[in-house]
């Protein structure tokens, strides 16, 4: 206790030095916390994009469908999967999948036709929220279609336009129908933008003579259950089916996330070095400047261990106090950036548009306990080390030398 009181008084004996040290530690801690929260925020945004749009957290298919995508490889008794999902507390949406040629006048495109349940899609993902123009499917068999934006461009088709769909139906005949475009989807994925057309499942049944075949069931617990666990539970409930989590379905996305994790560590390292340098150099210089003072204490009879203990206590006290202020500051700024986001467009528009492609430019932080604890540990550790090294050196010097040290 006496050591503590001692240390506290010592800190204020040279208030200016302490203030400089404290600001170095506080600024470093605050910037580190803010940066870590921003980096975690971009990571989270990528993960959410992967799952919330069209893929969901897990998907169920008939064995072999993913490789061949044949209309005949349907899920046996899909009701069983839907019931199992309800039992797990997850939302589920059934999709029927086929290929066909859509044409509008002289323009045509080979497309994937998805027969969807318009209501259920909104519960497993955010497809309905990504309409760039027009409306979502009406929820009845009315011959309506929603197109990806790239596909709409290829076909020159906007809401209100009529398209002819030609497909090879499940019974071997050529299916043929006129569809009216009601909406255009944008910003989901490159593949969906370019080649997916969504129709109601009942329309799909009629067009493909599909007899209610379901090829894909998308599951989502809205983040309540971890994706791997959800997939495992679904696998248990639906034996014999091919159940995969989004991590297994989107290996390229997982790679992106892995690379981003590494990049995050590299950026973090650069910041830790920059912030550590600030604390290290300031503290190192401050303690070296005190060599004559420490020599005086030694000359008065303090043991080397006593001197080191005193300096260490001072450094810890200063570090804890300043890192606390820095953490409060960092958490404050990060929380602000989590709620409001940082607009990178520089225009206050919230998005960036190049040649018709729009990207969301609001960068939101995501504050985790780790993003606060790690910086505090780093700055405290560096503070202590930067004080101990010169203190140990000074304590070993002959007091006479130390007193005359410049």
């Amino acid at each position: 206790m006496l050591t503590l009181i001692h240390a506290w008084r010592n800190l204020w004996r040279n208030g200016r030095r302490t203030a400089i040290n404290a600001s170095a530690i506080a600024v470093s801690t605050a910037v580190l916390i803010f940066t870590f929260a921003l980096l975690d925020g971009s990571m989270r945004a990528m993960e959410r994009n992967a799952t919330e749009l069209a893929v969901g957290e897990a998907q169920v298919h008939a064995p072999g469908w993913l490789a061949e995508r044949s209309i005949y490889q349907a899920i046996e008794a899909p009701e069983r999967v839907l019931e199992a999902a309800a039992g797990l507390g997850a939302a589920a949406a059934a999709r029927s999948m086929g290929f066909g040629l859509l044409s509008s006048g002289p323009r045509s495109a080979g497309v994937q036709i998805w027969g969807v349940d318009p209501g259920a899609e909104g519960r497993v993902g955010q497809l309905p929220q990504h309409l760039a123009r027009g409306e979502w499917l009406p929820g009845e068999a009315a011959g309506r279609v929603v197109l990806g934006a790239g596909l709409a461009r290829t076909l020159g088709a906007e809401p209100g336009a009529e398209l002819v769909a030609v497909v090879q139906a499940a019974d071997g005949s050529m299916g043929n129908v006129v569809l009216r475009v009601v909406g255009v989807l944008e910003g989901i994925s490159e593949g969906m933008d370019r080649s997916v057309a969504l129709v109601d499942r009942r329309d799909f049944d009629a067009l493909f003579v599909a007899e209610g075949r379901v090829h894909e069931v998308v599951l989502s617990s809205q983040g309540k259950v971890e994706a791997g666990a959800l997939a495992a539970a679904a696998r248990e409930a639906a034996p014999g089916l091919d159940v995969r989590s989004w991590r297994e379905l989107l290996p390229v996305m997982v790679n992106m996330l892995n690379i981003w994790t590494v990049a995050r560590w590299m950026i973090s390292l650069i910041f830790v070095v920059a912030a550590g340098l600030g604390v290290l150099n300031t503290m190192l210089m401050a303690t070296f400047e005190r060599t004559p003072e420490l020599g005086l204490v030694r000359a008065l009879g303090a043991t080397p261990g006593r001197v080191v203990l005193d300096v260490a206590t001072e450094a810890l006290l200063l570090g804890a106090f300043s890192a606390g202020i820095g953490a409060a500051l960092g958490v404050g700024v990060a929380t602000w950036a989590q709620v409001h986001g940082i607009d990178l467009s520089g225009l206050g528009a919230g998005n960036l548009s190049i040649a018709g492609v729009t990207l969301e430019t609001t960068w939101r932080a995501h504050l985790t306990p780790g993003a606060v604890v790690q910086p505090v540990i780093v700055t405290l550790g560096v503070t202590l080390l930067a004080a101990l090294y010169p203190a140990v050196r000074a304590s070993r010097l002959d007091p006479v030398q130390a007193l005359g040290h410049v």
């Binding site: 600001s23 044949s70 290929f99 290829t154 690379i259 950026i267 150099n281 190192l284 210089m285 190049i354």
Partner: protein, 416 residues
């Protein structure tokens, strides 16, 4: 002046440790910002180069309407454009392309695909596809019905070299047409989009399928030896092309997703660099401030002995200038050396990639980027950051310079 500099120089080395600590703050700070900037530039350059070469090229000449309505009817007579582009300095390759959408069918099923009709000899060395063939061979001159397809498409349609498939589409007049394809090779680019979606055929076959005349192309891609030549070549080419017949577009307009991603990430990187410079600035401020504060007694002695305050200020300022010059030189050298090493050797991140089939790469907006990070170092980056940190150091040094003569002389001389 000379005397002041000499005094400042000696004074710096009177307390070597203090000077070295301040110098490391400046040098490491500068080196970090240079490294961060060049790493960012390297990643964006790789991403754009990879995407550009998978698409038409750095510049695309196309029918003015093609961008909004990529229908086969919007093709252009390309012979003259190709000749004009080939004659320009800085141009590496000129690739006439016919692109369109079609359905490819085999007994195993039918799939909607993007078709790219190419001149095989123009592709080699210009686009990544020839070297990405994993089965069979790439297209050759003289192939009439040859086709190369992506691995994922090959798996789905049960295709391999030697197998046949039927390509069906509607031509420029709206008539259904079909062409027989003979697969000669299978490529794997690592980009899911290309491996699932793309079929390359000889340009003659594509012209037949869409009913286009000899010499027609939907796009003429121009690949440059050095992407920095883009503005010059774009201007030169625009001068030789009738704007009513064809539009010259840069890759930014042609693949806006990649351009937008790069723009956005560049801004994020710039923001982070501002944070690093802030940290560096605060470190420099703290060390310089502290060293001047600790020298109060020294200044007091000088002033008591009759040094004119102006002289003392000039000396402290000279010290700061020397520190800034030495620190930024060391920092620029260190930053350039580290970035140069990473540019030459790369940081291989493929260790962190999943080995699962079909996941051999990292993509941005559907285009593969290499998992080996490389810096791209330019004299401008080094110069700009060096000037910035030099200015920052000198600016920060002004306060201590002023402080040095504002010390309470008598008080400081009395105490230790």
């Amino acid at each position: 002046m000379n005397a002041v500099l000499k005094l400042a120089w000696r004074s710096l080395w009177r307390n070597r440790r203090r000077t070295l600590i301040t110098l490391t703050s400046i040098a490491l700070g500068l080196a970090l910002t240079i490294f961060m900037a060049s790493l960012g530039a390297g990643v964006y350059r790789q991403a754009s180069e990879g995407a550009v070469r998978m698409q038409a090229g750095h510049l695309v000449v196309e029918h003015p309407e093609f961008r909004h309505d990529p229908s086969p009817a919007h093709a252009l007579a390309a012979t003259e454009v190709v000749a004009a582009a080939r004659g320009l300095p800085g141009v590496e390759t000129v690739r006439p392309l016919v692109v369109g959408q079609a359905v490819v069918a085999t007994a195993a099923g039918s799939v909607g695909v993007g078709v790219m009709g190419v001149e095989p000899e123009a592709e080699i060395g210009a686009s990544p596809f020839p070297e990405r063939v994993v089965l069979g061979r790439y297209l050759e001159e003289g192939d009439v019905r040859g086709a190369v397809v992506g691995t994922a498409l090959a798996r789905r349609l049960k295709l391999e070299p030697g197998k046949k498939a039927v390509l069906t589409t509607t031509d420029a007049r709206g008539e259904m047409t079909s062409e027989l394809l003979k697969v000669v090779g299978v490529f794997q680019t690592g980009s899911e989009e290309s491996d699932v979606f793309l079929v390359q055929v000889p340009i003659g076959l594509a012209r037949r399928a869409w009913g286009l005349p000899e010499g027609a192309a939907s796009q003429v891609g121009v690949i440059l030896g050095d992407p920095d030549d883009l503005p010059g070549v774009a201007a030169a080419l625009s001068g030789r092309v009738d704007p009513g017949v064809a539009a010259v577009r840069t890759w930014r307009e042609a693949i806006p997703k990649v351009a937008a991603w790069i723009e956005l990430d560049t801004r994020a990187n710039r923001l982070l660099r501002v944070f690093v410079i802030f940290l560096v600035g605060s470190t420099i401020l703290n060390t310089i401030l502290m060293s001047v504060l600790e020298r109060g007694r020294e200044f007091a002695v000088c002033l008591a002995l009759g040094t004119p305050p102006r002289m003392l200020r000039a000396q402290v300022l000279a010290e700061t200038l020397l520190l800034a010059a030495l620190g930024t030189m060391a920092g620029a050298a260190l930053g350039a050396a580290v970035s140069g090493w990473v540019q030459a050797h790369g940081i291989d991140l493929s260790l962190f990639l999943s080995r699962e089939e079909g996941a051999s790469g990292v993509t941005v907006g559907g285009f593969m980027i290499s998992p080996v990070l490389r810096c791209w170092l330019t004299p401008e980056q080094v110069g700009a950051h060096t000037l910035l940190v030099f200015g920052l150091t000198v600016g920060i040094g002004l306060y201590p310079t002023w402080r040095s003569t504002a010390v309470p002389v008598a008080d400081l001389l009395r105490t230790r």
